[in-house]
Symmetry: C2
Subunit: 193 residues, 2 copies
DNA sequence: TAAATTTCTTGATTCAAATCATTGGAGCCG
DNA sequence: CGGCTCCAATGATTTGAATCAAGAAATTTA
């Protein structure tokens, strides 16, 4: 049931069977149907999720009411509005299933308990946050320094699997473009070759 | 000498005098004159820095050779190309002093040693990375969902001190705008009131 | 299978920001 | 002090993406 979560942790630190059991004792499971929400803006994010199966999108709503996708998540990726999770503030993000999903959840109390009692769990989480920060920094850099064409090419080469599973207009939203513009970029790129 | 660093750690975890001494033993000090570089693209980032005094900018160079500022740092902020630091890859970022600076440095071996020997240091670093991630996520959200006017207003309200110390064309670069556009946004905003 | 919905493409037009160019002021150094 | 460099403001023009609009293709669902 929780093999995906344990294997993620074991990639960074090696757990004993005993430690694996202690972690599993803190986890819960949840399934979502396509178009169901894991989190809605304004709610408090009570859980961090790990995707065991499926695909989801995170999006925010701007002052004019338009949606902007800020992240996708596939198998093995973590999810949640960390700001809301840690500070118990209303979430500003929405997280919606794009396919039927299996998620593995950990609550804040469970997370804090593991941090307190299991140094390896804290090490895992430190590494996870460091890597997440580095990845987000790369994205920020691309957003500010690459042209739309280059951004799309970079996206395709880093996340080819997302391109296959997610509608194109959502990728446009992620890149900060209209669907029409992304369509034109694609035809421009394919005519170049 | 290293009070700024210790007070940052003590904000998150409380250190004993003994622990403070162990940390200080791993730190070094560096001064930079205005326009000197802490890090240049292509070099390996051997240290993470904490700013004790002064102001710096981080910028990247795009495929056309144009500079884009991705971050500023003032007193109490941490600095470095984490990707390069942890993976010992060539840095993609440049970090330059905008004023004469005092920095407090920690090398990778020193950092790893403290992580191994002092659980509180790992806790501090986990919290630091989590907060940095949350802050960067907010910025990414603003970049994708706010209009240039709104982004500038948000920047001024979050970092009023940076606005006072940094030339306007650098703030334009940080916001992904030309200096001319930012100048026009400012006059537009001031005429609104 | 057929109808309905969603998604993608393409064209015409509008609009906002980039670019190009100039001026005026502020701070710095000989 | 005067000349120099850097910086901000403003105007004219160009450019590229958004918007508006329509239709084709693909997927869902009845």
């Amino acid at each position: 049931m929780y093999e995906v979560f344990l294997s993620k942790v074991n990639e960074k630190v090696s757990l004993t069977k005993q430690e694996e059991a202690e972690i599993v004792a803190q986890l819960t499971h949840k399934t979502l149907r396509k178009r169901q929400f894991f989190l809605k803006e304004g709610d408090i994010c009570r859980y961090i999720a790990l995707v065991e199966k499926g695909a989801l999108r995170t999006y925010v709503t701007d002052p004019e009411g338009h949606e902007h996708i800020t992240a996708f998540a596939l198998e093995g990726w973590s999810l949640g509005d960390l700001c809301s999770f840690f500070r118990e503030e209303p979430a500003t993000q929405n997280i919606e299933a794009l396919e039927d999903c299996d998620l593995c959840l950990i609550s804040r109390p469970a997370h804090e308990a593991l941090l307190q009692t299991m140094p390896k769990y804290e090490t895992y989480h430190r590494i996870l946050m460091t890597e997440a920060y580095i990845a987000l920094q790369k994205r920020t850099r691309d957003m500010i320094s690459l042209s739309p064409d280059e951004q799309y090419k970079a996206f395709v080469s880093v996340y080819p699997n997302i391109v296959l599973r997610v509608p194109q207009h959502m990728i446009a939203s992620y890149l900060g473009l209209t669907p029409e513009t992304l369509s034109r970029i694609k035809s421009r790129i394919s005519h170049q070759r």
